[in-house]
């Protein structure tokens, strides 16, 4: 295997093994990874956090510090201007490696906010790269930089040359970094989670840019991401990685239509898509991603696999299912032996499980109730809906911007600017929007964690709505007994100094609901309820994984048996497979306890999955409000349409909108006049700049509101229309 690969390949990684030594001992982060990228191809490397994908991609260019890393085995062949070069052997020869970096292969990183040097201008940083590799005079380097900035779509390139990182938004920084990476025309671009830190509409723009540049600059891309949706619309081929090993490799169509490895199947099934049955259990992988040192021997997925067999204690072979599709799984082992690779379909030979490999049933739908939502249930819901649990009227949250020594007010951030909402009993209202739109503030306003600048809040746990806008904190404490809240970051939402008993039992003690051993008992019950062991209450938060911590946070939120739960981005910090578990848990608990819920998230697919109704927020305003289904099928506000189109769906070949929203989110301290979306709206008309559209009922629908001047004229694209056109996945999981 020491010979260079065929010239068709830009990158060929063979059997790479990388381990890290630490005080705890050595752990192998990358364990026999083989991967290649051909000319002009986009390859996606997908996996959950800690699976070793970053180490793999960084090994290509020698960005893994060694020590502590130890490169035990393997070869990395890279096509360079000097022919095929093995880069691992270049680690000793930094000069040769440096000549490759930036010229033959480039890289963009996960955090654009921190990847641009804060004290050098954009121009300096990009020209520096050119001057490093080529003998050109500074004027030419300048011109080429301007040209490149134009190519990546930064407005007014000459002006950008003199700007600093802090003057650019995240999306613009990522564009600048792409320009920086491509200015020497490398043949391969490595993209390490390039859109993870960005808002969905910006993510869509950047993905589109990468797709476009691949054509224009005829380069190859190796993209790593944890988001199956991102690769579906971008990659030609995909490799799925788990705990340092490649589980499955195939073309994007094969991976999505006929996933072979149980892990891939599990990942796909656990993503709430825009076509799954709302409010149903997602099929989730059990357990959590173990720490590397704790990985099972043999097949590393064995302990979470639904098809685990005794033989899984041994390392599975990589089975060639088709020409371009292979999986490392024992399920397919004897097939290869008896029939040869050509005859294999991605169907498991043992017929052991009907869900496996059967694409039509892949997205498993387990309705929570046996019965279909019947008239009976509808009636109950209607009766419930007579009584609102929470109403907010024209609520606003304004922060003064204070400057200078005398703290003069020089402006106002309108985080929330006049919002009306109501939540009915037993209902889940989803609140969706991009970062900075004020959705988190709404969650904190309704619980009075922040004080509203204007408006009124009514809440009634026992049937009668009472105004709680200005009641003193002492009374508010009583009201909060009926409220619970789950936060985004499971790390910071639990006090590391307190054990689980005191964390979960704190509200009980504060409200005098239990004392002494009664607390232990109740905390035990709560832990069992969220799927943890009662005996764990003496442990401390650091002993639990992210998903488990989020369960603890849910147990705490439900300790006082509230009737209302605010869930603020409860799953966005979690791995995909764990995300599904938490969503399932929330759905189960909501039904068991008849909770009303305000579910806040940036991902409209997640929101749609758990909500009865959805409110879409943009720059402190509600722009659309309606039933979850209506909003997704027939959005009435262009922003909702854009949000729906921006969600990368795990369906390859999906057409995107002709026109995506332009530019970045405006500054909330200085929102645009008229319709706040007009600066980015593809359908913008002169009137949008002047008049602010009110939130009014949409023509032919009950209970569906929009805030667009042209909502009755525009016919915006929803998801079902896309879904019907595309593929069995949509049909299988979509609405009946």
């Amino acid at each position: 295997m020491n010979s260079p690969p065929d010239s068709d390949k830009v990158l060929d990684i063979r059997n790479l093994r990388v381990s890290f030594s630490s005080i705890a001992g050595a752990t192998r982060a990358v364990n026999g990874v083989s991967l290649n990228v051909r000319s002009g191809e986009i390859v996606g490397l997908v996996g959950e956090s800690g699976c070793g994908k970053s180490v793999t991609i960084r090994s290509i260019v020698g960005l893994v510090p060694s020590p502590p890393a130890l490169f035990e085995d393997g070869e990395i062949w890279l096509r360079t201007r000097r022919g095929m070069t093995e880069t691992l052997s270049l680690y000793k020869n930094m000069k040769a490696l440096r000549q490759i970096r930036g010229r033959d292969v480039s890289m963009i990183f996960q955090e654009p906010m921190r990847s641009v040097h804060p004290m050098m201008t954009i121009g300096q940083q990009i020209t520096e790269g050119i001057l490093e590799h080529e003998v050109v005079d500074p004027a030419e380097a300048y011109d080429r930089t301007v040209e490149m900035l134009d190519l990546v779509g930064l407005p007014n390139p000459p002006a950008q040359m003199n700007r600093y990182a802090h003057e650019l938004s995240g999306g613009m920084r990522q564009r600048a970094l792409i320009a920086l990476a491509l200015v020497c025309h490398p043949q391969l671009l490595l993209a390490d989670e390039p859109t993870t830190a960005l808002d969905v509409t910006i993510q869509a723009q950047i993905l589109e840019l990468i797709r476009d540049l691949r054509e224009r600059m005829s380069m190859s891309v190796l993209l790593i991401t944890h988001n199956m949706g991102v690769v579906a619309n971008l990659a030609d081929r995909i490799s799925v990685m788990y705990l340092g090993r490649i589980m499955e490799t195939g073309t994007v169509e094969e991976i999505f239509k006929e996933p072979a490895h149980p892990y891939t199947q599990g990942l796909l099934a656990s993503m709430p898509s825009l076509f799954s049955q709302p409010k149903t259990h997602l099929q989730s992988l059990r357990g959590v991603v173990p720490e590397l040192a704790m990985a099972p021997k043999g097949c590393v997925f064995a302990d979470r696999c639904p098809h685990v067999m005794p033989i899984c204690d041994e390392t599975p072979p990589v089975v060639e299912l088709r020409a371009d599709h292979s999986a490392a799984c024992w399920l397919y082992d004897d097939v290869e032996a008896s029939q040869g690779p050509d005859a294999v379909t991605a169907r498991p030979p043992h017929g052991s499980d009907s869900t496996l490999g059967d694409s039509s049933q892949r997205v498993e739908v387990i309705p929570l109730t046996k019965t279909e939502p019947t008239a009976d249930a509808d009636q109950k819901k209607l009766a419930d809906s007579d009584t609102d649990l929470l109403q907010i009227e024209n609520v606003a949250l304004h922060y003064p911007i204070l400057r200078g020594l005398l703290r003069r007010q020089v402006g106002t951030v309108r985080a929330v600017d006049g919002v009306d909402l109501s939540i009915r009993r037993g209902e889940t209202l989803g609140l969706v929007g991009e970062s900075g739109c004020g959705k988190t503030s709404v969650g904190r306003l309704v619980t009075r964690l922040v004080e509203p600048s204007a408006g009124r809040i009514h809440f009634g746990a026992d049937g009668r709505l009472e105004e709680i806008t200005h009641i003193p904190q002492k009374e508010m404490k009583g009201v909060r007994r009926s409220m619970g809240m789950v936060f985004q970051d499971p790390l910071s939402s639990l006090n590391a100094r307190m054990n689980i008993r005191n964390i979960v039992g704190e509200p009980l003690m504060l409200h005098g609901m239990a004392r002494g051993s009664a607390v232990d008992e109740r905390v035990g019950e709560l832990l069992e309820m969220v799927g943890l062991r009662a005996a764990h209450q003496s442990r401390f938060p650091h002993a639990f994984s992210g998903g488990q911590r989020q369960r603890i946070a849910i147990a705490r939120a439900l300790a006082t048996e509230p009737s209302f739960l605010v869930a603020d981005e409860p799953v966005s910090a979690l791995d995909v497979s764990v995300q599904a578990q938490i969503l399932n848990l929330l759905l189960t608990l909501q039904q068991q306890l008849n909770l009303s819920m305000l579910f806040i998230a940036h991902d409209i697919a997640v929101v749609r999955h758990v909500s009865d109704r959805i409110a879409v927020m943009y720059l402190g305003k509600i722009v659309e409000l309606g039933n979850a289904r209506d909003i997704c099928v027939r959005p009435v506000h262009p922003y909702t349409e854009a949000l729906l189109a921006s969600i990368p769906l795990p369906i390859p070949g999906l057409a995107t909108l002709q026109e995506m929203p332009k530019g970045d989110l405006p500054d909330p301290a200085n929102p645009p006049t008229g319709c706040r979306f007009h600066t980015r709206c593809p359908y913008s008309q002169p009137i949008c700049e002047q008049e602010e559209p009110p939130l009014v009922p949409f023509a032919d629908a009950v209970d569906h509101f929009g805030a667009c001047h042209f909502q009755d004229e525009l016919h915006l694209q929803g998801v079902e229309e896309i879904g019907e056109i595309h593929g069995p996945a949509a049909a299988a999981g979509g609405e009946e």
């Binding site: 909060r480 799927g531 369960r551 578990q581």
Partner: protein
């Protein structure tokens, strides 16, 4: 592989399958985790032992010191250190260490005192000897850890008045190390109260406090201390002067601690677990005491550990200049006063010995503070 077997052999707990896979280190409390991490830092552990020893010895100094600090040996003025040895003039080894006797004479030219060893006289060292009487707490005794019969033992020599330097260093250490602790305690109290108020209340209160601390920190501390020491009435008893000096040192030193506490309070205030506690019904005081104080405490302890040296050095410097502790009270700084004069130092270089005790103490505090800081990160890998 043991963990693997456990993982495979154990049925999942429920449908969502939360499993049991913890290593031992994860089952312990946060405090214990810090302790375990601290133990891994050998320098810090050694420093901790050294510090405990220093405090123990200086606390019970009358016992460890062979003499009363004010006992004068008139015939042994400016006596050089006399180290115990095992081997006598004939090269014979003795199991019990001893000191030689010394004879004083005068250098005929310079008229300086010269002590010569009289190797015919051997005075074996003894443990638990009777000597100067003292009162420790409420307990009268005359027992000392070591000494020799018929001859004084000066392991660090004597000063210009014939007092045993080693004994004086131990007694001086009692004052110097105590100043550090009391001073930091006062600084801490001020720092925690002001820092937490500043961080938690925010707004105008915060601005005013912060500007105040900035002014405080922009004074050069030593000249400020010197100037402030002017306000101490000279005729006061030495114990009152001692207390006032300590207060004075901490009044200048609390600003840094207050900043640390404020920073932590700000960071913690925005943590989601504080919001969660408010959701659960926690009021301001509850949150401050149950959440913010414990979270801050470990960092405050580090900052306090690192602040002790500053205060010890402040006292030493002031006393050294004659502006701090006043004789007959002794501190390390007071002892070093003698070393300030070049003529003394050239004849009696051992007078600098207190400096090494100061350095050892300060170094120990710094090592411990460093070790604690490294051990503190709650989510760092074990």
């Amino acid at each position: 592989m043991e963990q693997n077997a456990a993982a495979n052999g154990q049925p999942p707990l429920n449908e969502t399958g939360v499993e049991e896979r913890f290593d031992v280190t994860k089952q312990v409390s946060y405090g214990r985790l810090i302790y375990l991490r601290f133990l891994r830092n050998h320098a810090a552990v050694v420093a901790a032992f050294a510090l405990v020893l220093i405090y123990l010895i200086t606390l019970v100094c009358p016992f460890f010191a062979p003499y009363d600090p004010n006992t004068r040996f008139i015939e042994k003025v400016a006596h050089p250190p006399l180290l115990p040895t095992f081997i006598d003039a004939d090269g014979k080894f003795h199991l019990r260490p001893f000191v030689f006797g010394t004879v004083q004479s005068r250098d005929p030219k310079t008229m300086e005192r010269v002590y010569t060893e009289d190797t015919t006289q051997r005075f074996p060292l003894q443990l638990f000897v009777r000597g100067d009487e003292y009162t420790f707490l409420f307990w009268d005794s005359d027992l000392h850890l070591f000494g020799a019969q018929d001859s004084p033992v000066f392991i660090l020599g004597t000063d210009t008045q014939g007092r045993d330097l080693f004994s004086r260093i131990l007694f001086g250490g009692r004052i110097s190390t105590t100043v550090g602790l009391i001073g930091v305690a006062i600084s801490l109290l001020l720092g925690i109260v002001v820092g937490m108020a500043s961080g938690y209340l925010g707004g105008a209160v915060d601005s005013i406090i912060q500007r105040g601390i900035e002014v405080l920190l922009s004074f050069p501390s030593l000249p400020l201390w010197m100037a402030l020491s002017l306000s101490l009435p000279r005729h006061w008893s030495s114990i009152r002067i001692f207390l006032l000096i300590t207060i004075l040192l901490s009044i200048v030193g609390w600003g840094g601690l207050a900043r640390v506490v404020r920073g932590m309070t700000l960071a913690v205030k925005s943590e989601e677990f504080v919001l969660a506690s408010r959701m659960g019904g926690g009021g301001t005081w509850w949150i401050l005491i149950r959440h913010i104080l414990p979270t801050n405490l470990s960092y405050v302890i580090v900052a306090a550990t690192l602040a002790v040296p500053g205060i010890i050095l402040g006292e030493t410097a002031l006393s050294f200049l004659g502006l701090g502790i006043q004789p007959p009270m002794i501190s390390w700084g007071v002892l070093l006063q003698d070393a300030q004069k070049v003529s003394f130092l050239s004849q009696m270089p051992w007078l600098i010995a207190p400096a090494f005790f100061i350095m050892a103490t300060v170094l120990a505090f710094n090592f411990i503070g460093d070790g604690l800081r490294d051990a503190l990160d709650p989510y760092s890998n074990f």
